[in-house]
Symmetry: C2
């Protein structure tokens, strides 16, 4: 067996040979030095411990029977300094009890003196060195991984905290839910795909006791889309629903202005939106649609159906025209609005199948917000591919 | 040495003993079974390989001299199936060459037959099992860490991509830089602490050839603050600088409206802002300050000094009053605006010391944007605790 210690550019392994029998010790050291090991030697336990601390050998050969501090004692002490340095016990034929004790103390291997086969000794040394190196590498690798892990977790926490703070701000922009105006009940839920949502909803009662409401979906999701919802919320509440001289509120008038303002804002996003105005005085819903999908489901006279109509999304080009659609209501109705993220929660199928399913679902739940949320398992939605928004509005029962 | 295999609730270790000498094999198996090992035995190589595959033992004892397939061959084959299962070679006294070969093939240890000390054999078995378990645990731990790492990296990437997309949107809201109006040059730089910035700046030329500009710092930083900058940008560009009948632009008029709109928006943030209007016709700077700090540095007639004045931040309460301050300019001036994040880049000291340092820095750089950016090492800023914003405006030299 040829030693390959010199083949690499690494420093030669350093061995500490401990034995009080000079002749034996020197013969072992000579053999090892001739096979490209650096060797330091000690002829008693005290010297061995000093040398171990000073020289930091890669492996130790230690005779068990020595005067003063015996080998077992030395092994025990050396193990305290470094449990990574392999120790090979050297023992007389009749000291197998000591060998056993040495092994229990952590010795990696043992040899009976006189050593009959130096190649076997060298093999044991190589194996000890290899295992120590492996153990060290394992530890280093684990440490690196753990360090990398900690760093990643730190970066992640930083971003999460940031996004969470953004979410708090965004949530503060959402209307109270549930909310009751004089004539209507509103309830909504927004589930962001990540932390920040491109879906948004708002509703408020006007001075004329009308209820204005919308559900919107900014293209994309996350922070970039959430940005636009801030502006949307502000604009929708500021812009007028009426042209000068108009008596009735017109969602189309607001959408048209909203569109122009969003285009002016130069934000690289477009918005689909359904905007409605409910007037109890007129018993009427007036709405206008900026490309929103799916359309809301209206329950009227016990019948559930999708509203119709669909103009162009907002924020793409100025001058887009929107139209108002009017629906006469009676005193008992409900209206369920969704963003398209809801469709991802439905059984696989094409869009027509999903629309049919959603309509049936609303009907089965009798348009009830909580029942629908329950069937869709909204509380356990995680890692949704898109933001999810639900808004339900119904007439207050005047019992 | 008492076996402790039965102490735990784990299944007993399973050993495969391979030897063609029945008497020896049975004696070894008996000893091991009596010491709480499960034992399967094979009396030849073929059977051994089949049993190994079928029984998946935790450790193998393998005689080296067997008819048909010899032990070395068996060890080689078993190592191919699983290099994690320790193998102890059993050999006659005169077969040390084979022992050496077995060790080189990966055997964990060897024993010379007849076995004189079964306790030593059992010790070797225990050590082999322990090391295999350790190796397995190391591998599992590494794998778990790597898996955890990959998951963390994935989550991090998701958030980074999201924030990056937000940053693109936010950057799209910033004005062109450098930018030259008829009379002035503008240049700015925003360095977010994370991805999204609560610092913001904007400037534009009005129809009256005035230059309106501001630098703003939304409280906090990151996504939540960046939200507000979207609204800020929109509002500042929409709101009027003049009351009805006014002839001169009034930053205070705009700040007052901006403040009311921000308060109305219910965003849980306040904003410090410096707003100025430069009129070449009047050779005049008019500005109003909403709590912004540090104040801009003005170079006029070769002298550098901080502007003065400081009203209340925006977005805290409606009705805050702001005042206009007018400065007569000559044809050659420069104006350097900063957000307070810049102060973190200066040598440690109290605020007065930092202000003095910043003023001297601007003077040394002669108000030049790139020179200042250079001295502040803006290109190498990383992980700044706060967002950093710089805006420089100077008169165009009419050579």
């Amino acid at each position: 067996m040829n030693s390959s210690n010199q083949a690499s550019n690494l420093p030669l392994p350093k061995l500490l040979v401990i034995d009080d029998e000079t002749e034996f010790r020197v013969s072992v050291c000579d053999y090892l030095q001739n096979n490209d090991y650096r060797v330091v030697q000690a002829n008693n336990g005290e010297e061995a411990i000093e040398l171990f601390k000073k020289e930091k050998p890669n492996l130790v050969l230690c005779d068990l029977r020595m005067p003063s501090i015996d080998g077992l004692n030395v092994i025990e002490k050396l193990s305290l300094f470094s449990d990574m340095t392999p120790i090979i016990a050297l023992s007389g034929e009749n000291d197998m009890d000591d060998v056993m004790k040495a092994l229990l103390l952590g010795a990696a291997d043992y040899f009976i003196k006189p050593i009959k086969d130096f190649e076997l000794l060298e093999y044991s040394i190589k194996r000890g060195l290899r295992e120590a190196k492996l153990q060290e590498e394992n530890q280093r690798k684990s440490m690196q991984l753990e360090l990398g892990n900690a760093k990643l977790r730190q970066s992640l926490d930083l971003l999460r905290v940031d996004q969470q703070a953004g979410r708090v701000v965004q949530t503060s922009l959402l209307p109270q839910s549930p909310f009751s105006s004089i004539n209507y009940n509103c309830q909504h839920k927004i589930i962001p795909s990540l932390y920040l949502s491109g879906d948004f909803t708002d509703y408020w009662q006007t001075d004329d006791n009308e209820l204005v409401f919308y559900i919107a979906d900014v293209s994309g999701h996350g922070a970039s889309s959430a940005f636009v919802t801030v502006l949307l919320k502000y604009l929708a509440r500021q812009l007028s629903l009426k042209k000068e001289g108009d008596s009735e509120s017109s969602p189309a008038v607001l959408l048209s202005q909203l569109n122009n303002e969003l285009v002016k804002s130069d934000l690289p996003k477009h918005v689909t939106l359904f905007l409605g105005v409910l007037s109890a005085d007129r018993q009427q819903l007036t709405y206008s649609v900026a490309g929103h999908y799916p359309m809301p489901v209206l329950r009227l006279k016990g019948k559930y159906q999708y509203l119709t109509g669909r103009d162009f999304p907002l924020g793409i080009r100025t001058g887009t025209e929107f139209s108002d659609i009017k629906i006469a209501l009676d005193q008992d109705f409900s209206l369920n609005l969704f963003s398209d993220g809801v469709l991802d929660l439905l059984p696989k199928g094409n869009m027509t199948a999903k629309e049919t399913f959603l309509l049936a679902l609303v009907e089965r739940c009798e348009g009830d917000f909580n029942a629908i949320a329950n069937v869709l398992c909204l509380d356990s939605v995680k890692d949704a591919p898109d933001d999810i928004a639900l808004l339900t509005i119904n007439s207050r029962k005047t019992n």
